[in-house]
Amino acid sequence: MQIYINDAPHTVDAQTTFAQARACFLPETTAAILNTVPNPCPETVLQEQDRLYLYKHRGEFADGDLLELILARQPHAATEKLRAACVGIAGAGGLGSVVAENLARAGIGKLVVADCDMVEPSNLNRQRFQLRQVGMAKTAALAENLRESCPFVTINTVQERISTDNCMRVFDACAIVCECFDAAESKASLVTALRRQLPNCIIVAASGLAGCGSARSITIRRVSANLYIVGDMNSDADSGIGLFAPRVGIVASLQAHVATQIILEEPI
């Protein structure tokens, strides 16, 4: 029967156990993941098309092997769909930096990240940048951070202010765009422009994430076939209640979750 070891196909006898496969392919293995589950029992009998990952904790990893091992906790079929996807992120701040990191870690193929701002000290309470990156363009800083943890993701950075005039050109290749702006007026005008100019693109927008109110008030609203809004729809940063990393992060993670569900064709 055929199984996959570190993503390479191998033929093994029926009734081969995990312990036998380990002894045959990498006896010095100190860590193993079988079909997304770590530490299988030695006696586990392998099945046709199983995906087994074997490695040494302190081993030297070739770049090609790293990608497989990084994504070993995800079902392979899901990873393949994610790798084929391109998602746009409009705004690389509190929402966008978290959406980008989530999607990159999940193995998205390509991100188009657009923002015109620089990293400022007051961003660091919630935006995923480093102190040494203050003064850098947010798009470049985000790409730098993602390359360190997810080197397999293609990141197209767009250092422009996104408006109704350029959004179609910037996000043309994206099946999904996450709206991650800060100002309510910018959110409304981008969503309207994208819905009109890229009608087949699915938009995942955010509204209502300020303050430290209940997380249970945060919902996912499907406005129409190609428009989702994540947030409590109500708490407004302009009212002076502030922005906190945990609550902004919940909404951003939900945006990334909805995008992932769309790519994997899961019911939202």
């Binding site: 005008s189 927008a205 940063a237």
Partner: protein, 67 residues
């Protein structure tokens, strides 16, 4: 006049002629709003002139700040 707003049926005593009038009655700021009327996107410059009919389905997304 009957309108279905964000999936809920609402009855208005007086006819609501345009989307702009509806937003005014609901106290929703136009510049922060994305609108779909019977599944079609309404751009902000069309809000003043887009007429409403009885039984129209209108989706109003009223954005608040923060990101």
């Amino acid at each position: 006049m009957k309108l279905i707003i964000n999936g809920d049926e609402q009855i208005f005593d007086h006819p609501v002629a345009t989307i702009a009038q509806l937003l005014e009655q609901l106290a929703v700021p136009v510049a922060r709003t994305a609108i779909e009327l019977n599944g079609a996107v309404v751009e902000q410059h069309q809000i003043e002139t887009t007429a409403l009919q009885d039984a129209d389905h209108i989706e109003i997304v009223s954005f608040v700040g923060g990101g």
